[in-house]
């Protein structure tokens, strides 16, 4: 069979996949809408807690409410972007156990392309995205940011970088599923807790948690440093100023390293033997 991998045909296929995904999501309209709403509610809890505390206090360690919410908006928007692009990586463990991965392996297309293109969890994308957009709209114009071309470029780069960092974190855990080691619970624990911590400026935390959020689970580059690029609060002096520009770099480096490891794991993959689909 003739393999046609030109860019335009890949894009056409991508849109076809997206259309099918959207159709299958809209099959159960009420259910999907309700699910997106549930995700929205769950994510609003931490925002409401922050709001309640800050209405009493005006500011914490020099951070005002709008500035904290601006920082938080990075987490939601980049997560939303990550889910939109990499739902397949989030659900990768499941694909291996159910045997669905085998189906992808025998198709004449790149595996990573199929994982990116073939699945989108619209409910999570919308649930998180709406929280992010609400926070961004509320804060973008009143924390003193000049939305110049340079700043907009940086903002987009930071969002994409943040999404790639989170994708790499999920991919590390998916690597283990090639050796039939289940790490989903551990992954969710580490990922979602770190994410919760990163909702507050990392300068609030003791040194060990700061180091963890910079070097081990680098959520500091998803929220704190991008927000500080715009806000320049005085507690930035605790950290090397070069970190401000590192978000995309950290993202790309992590992704390349993890992708190598992932390909190595793929070589050792042997099917679980039966496909449920």
């Amino acid at each position: 069979m003739q393999q046609n991998n030109s860019f335009s045909s890949m894009m056409a296929l991508f849109f076809r996949f997206s259309k099918l995904n959207l159709k299958s999501a809209l099959e159960y309209k009420f259910d999907r809408f309700f699910l997106a709403f549930a995700v929205f509610c769950r994510e609003m809890v931490s925002i409401i807690v922050m709001y309640l505390i800050l209405t009493r206090l005006i500011r914490i360690k020099g951070w005002e409410m709008n500035e904290m919410f601006f920082l938080y908006s990075f987490l939601f928007l980049s997560y939303s972007l990550f889910i939109f692009l990499f739902t397949g990586i989030r659900d990768f463990d499941n694909m291996v156990y159910s045997g669905e991965l085998d189906r992808y392996l025998i198709r004449p297309l790149g595996l990573m392309y199929q994982i990116v293109a073939s699945r989108v969890d619209y409910c999570a994308t919308i649930g998180h995205g709406v929280v992010g957009i609400i926070l961004f709209m509320k804060t973008a114009t009143n924390v003193g940011i000049d939305w110049s071309f340079k700043n907009i470029t940086y903002y987009i780069a930071a969002l994409v970088g943040g999404a790639i960092i989170q994708a790499s974190l999920f991919m590390i855990s998916s690597c283990f599923s090639f050796w039939a080691v289940k790490t989903v619970n551990l992954r969710n624990l580490i990922f979602f807790n770190s994410r919760r911590f990163a909702g507050y400026p990392i300068s609030f935390y003791p040194g060990i948690i700061q180091k963890m959020l910079i070097f081990i689970v680098p959520f500091a580059f998803v929220s704190y440093f991008p927000a500080q690029f715009f806000l320049r609060k005085p507690d930035l002096s605790m950290f090397w100023s070069g970190y401000l520009y590192m978000t995309p770099v950290v993202g790309v480096i992590m992704f390349v390293v993890v992708y190598r490891f992932w390909l190595f794991g793929l070589k050792h993959y042997s099917s679980t033997g039966n496909s449920m689909f």
Partner: protein, 262 residues
């Protein structure tokens, strides 16, 4: 009685099997406490006393809140999985009360959490985070009674929500929304006096306050004696109302049950 004890024992043993989950659970609780204390320290940095309450007291509140949450976790999808798999039909045929069956299963998990998770987490909290002891002996005892009632109130609310799986194929959404509401209104994450006045008054009219806020306030000695008694009586009344509601919903649910094969 013996049969139900046996179910509780089984669920206790079930929990032991997943050792990594167990250690992760303990570490998770401690990490959450550690980080939340750091946040509250930052909040209290500018003022020693907020709303008439000292930092030490709020810190104890937060620690207790997380410790209680860690043992109050329940098997949220037990009934749903029984219905989708069709196992419920054989459960209903057994000479056991289905509701007591589910309850004893959760009690087994609770016992596991108290013995295996709470004990180490409590020791670390006392040594490392300087958890204050109860205000006095009396409030310590009343705290235990109130905490048990809090668990039962939470269980009764949960049970009604779980029964929704008789009508809906998927209960993830409704359970997630319930969790969001409870975590704000019950005072699990922060002391309820941080709520705006009108909302705080509103939570007093709901059963949610009975779950975490009442027991912890009793522990801290923040309530005068007559308000403690009032709080506990309110817990009992809510528990009774919720049990009646649960009974009604259960009767409706069993009439409705449709099993697709099994």
């Amino acid at each position: 009685m013996r049969k139900y004890l046996e179910i509780a024992k089984k669920s206790f043993q079930n929990n032991i099997v997943y050792r990594i989950d167990y250690f992760a659970g303990v570490i998770n609780t401690l990490l959450m406490i550690f980080v939340n204390i750091a946040i509250w320290k930052a909040i209290y940095e500018e003022e020693e006393v907020l709303g008439g309450v000292q930092f030490k007291v709020v810190m104890t509140y937060i620690i207790l809140g997380f410790l209680m949450q860690s043992i109050f976790m329940m098997e949220e999808y037990l009934i749903e999985s029984k219905i989708t798999s069709g196992l419920i039909s054989s459960d209903l045929l057994k000479p056991l009360s289905f509701r007591l069956n589910i309850f004893s299963y959760n009690i087994g998990t609770l016992a596991f959490r108290i013995i295996m998770q709470l004990t180490p987490a409590l020791i670390v909290s006392i040594v490392l985070f300087k958890l204050l002891p109860p205000f006095n002996l009396q409030s310590g005892i009343l705290f235990c009674i109130s905490a048990i009632l809090g668990y039962l109130v939470l269980y009764s609310i949960n049970f009604i929500v779980w029964l929704s799986s008789f009508w809906f194929y998927w209960t993830f959404s409704i359970i997630t929304i319930k969790d969001a509401v409870i975590s704000i209104m019950s005072g699990a994450l922060f002391p309820l006096w941080f709520l705006p006045e009108w909302l705080h008054t509103f939570t007093k009219l709901t059963p949610f306050e009975s779950i975490y806020f009442v027991p912890i306030s009793i522990y801290l000695g923040l309530l005068p004696y007559d308000e403690i008694i009032f709080g506990i009586v309110k817990q009992v009344i809510w528990l009774a109302l919720l049990m009646i509601a649960g009974h009604v919903v259960w009767k409706m649910a069993t009439k409705k049950l449709v099993v697709q094969g099994g």
